[in-house]
């Protein structure tokens, strides 16, 4: 089975490990993430002012071209997911805007694509029980905290992937992979997002809360779905460590990396080396990898 897939700008470059691990993992449960033929950047942020239709034309173009070859489109990155899914709902529900945007990009897209996140594919199409059955290397003994951030969950009306205040999808996945899922209360809070460009202090503070809270709740590793979250958390590690007594840092990995590992992929193909903070020593200590 082939599942049409939109990589987005980041997965093709700095977050390569995210993509390769996902593709490999998909193969081991029997389907292929097939990159859509021609795509452009989604714009990386959904315009919050409803009159800003120009900003919707990029994601609409992605959707429109994906629709030409299929009925669904899946993403890995939370931000792409957010932008594409919200744009899609505008294209589906707002006749006037749809007309204008289609005019800009010279198509007649109607919002009929089904935009999903890879997590949804795993949960709803494959089923976590099947994932569990396919596990070759259970992540036994690993205390992993899921970090959701904002874009996967909010606004709930549009995203609806899970309960916006108490999501469980990643915890359930981690549990299926054999890990001990740690719930930290701050897992739905923002990492600082694009403020990385201008206000590093804020990013350090926000990311710091997320990481220290996970550690306090017993986590040994944080699992994310977004390259920007991953970047912000990792980048803040050293400053947080110097501000927080007793905090020594924690690896931040993509959920697909853990998935790939559990499904028995070679650890070297999963891009752990691309993460700033290497998770491999921990995994070795836990006996998950050699």
């Amino acid at each position: 089975m082939k599942i049409p897939y939109y990589p987005g700008c980041t997965l093709n470059t700095v977050a390569k490990g995210f993509e390769t691990s996902a593709k490999e993992a998909a193969l081991s449960i029997g389907f292929e993430l097939a990159e859509m033929p021609a795509w452009n950047c989604c714009g990386a942020t959904f315009p919050l002012t409803p009159d800003n239709l120009i900003a919707l034309s990029a994601p609409a173009k992605v959707l429109s071209s994906a629709r030409k070859t299929g009925e669904s489109l899946t993403t890995l990155c939370s931000v792409c997911y957010n932008v594409l899914k919200r744009t899609n709902s505008v294209m589906k529900n707002d006749r006037e805007k749809r007309a204008v945007i289609n005019g800009f990009i010279e198509t007649d897209y109607d919002g009929s694509l089904n935009v999903t996140h890879f997590l949804e594919i795993l949960r709803d199409n494959i089923g976590f029980d099947k994932v569990k059955a396919a596990v070759k290397q259970p992540l036994t003994g690993l205390k992993a905290a899921a970090y959701y951030g904002c874009m996967l969950l909010r606004p709930f009306e549009d995203m609806g992937i899970d309960d916006a205040e108490d999501p469980v999808v990643m915890e359930n996945l981690l549990a299926a992979l054999g890990a001990e899922a740690i719930k930290s209360p701050n897992r739905i809070e923002c990492c600082g997002a694009h403020l990385a460009m201008t206000n590093e202090d804020i990013v350090v503070k926000l990311s710091g809360t997320i990481m220290t809270s996970a550690v306090r709740n017993g986590a040994e590793l944080i699992v994310t779905t977004c390259p920007l979250c991953q970047y912000n958390l990792e980048k803040s590690q050293s400053r947080v460590a110097s501000d927080t007594p007793g905090y020594a840092g924690i690896p931040i990995v993509y959920f697909t990396q853990m998935l790939g590992l559990a499904l028995g992929q070679d650890v070297d193909t999963l891009g752990f080396d691309k993460n700033i903070w290497d998770a491999r020593p921990l995994l070795r200590k836990k006996g998950i990898i050699k």
Binding site: V14, C41, C77, E189, A193, L195, A196, L228
Partner: protein, 135 residues
């Protein structure tokens, strides 16, 4: 501070424009403060989210336009997610940014963005940052 309220000030055309641009009806905010309570960057804002709403309700557009609030908002939508009145302060703040940007008043000069950031950060951060700070 004493604020002199007049009908003219309350009906500031720029504020009406903001309502159009943001798509948010400022009057719906009943000042419960839940947005300020949950916003992760309230601590860094010169005017916290609920007060932004209040200032705009009483016509204090100048103060709002000068404050850093719109630039430190991370767009996390926590304010909207929990607002009992379904007001999106995030939209209002983006509207305020747009009012600046559409006049060409950029928050950030591309040349000032540190090179290591451009080199290492995920593309999405750069694209998003430019969209939020540069016209």
């Amino acid at each position: 501070m004493k604020i002199k309220l007049t009908k003219g000030a309350i009906e500031n055309p720029l504020i009406r424009q903001l309502e159009r641009v943001s798509g948010e009806e400022l009057k719906r905010c009943y000042q419960c403060g839940k947005c300020s309570a949950g916003c992760p960057v309230t601590f860094a804002m010169e005017i916290p989210p609920s007060q932004i709403m209040r200032f705009l309700q009483i016509g204090m557009m100048d103060d709002v336009m000068k404050a850093n609030s719109m630039w430190v908002c991370v767009g996390c939508l926590q304010c909207y997610a929990r607002c009992p009145q379904s007001v999106s302060v995030a939209n209002v703040l983006e509207g305020l940014r747009q009012l600046h940007l559409r006049k060409g008043e950029d928050r950030e000069q591309i040349k000032d963005v540190p090179f290591p950031f451009l080199k290492n950060a995920p593309q999405q951060a750069i694209v998003c940052g430019f969209r939020k700070f540069v016209s």
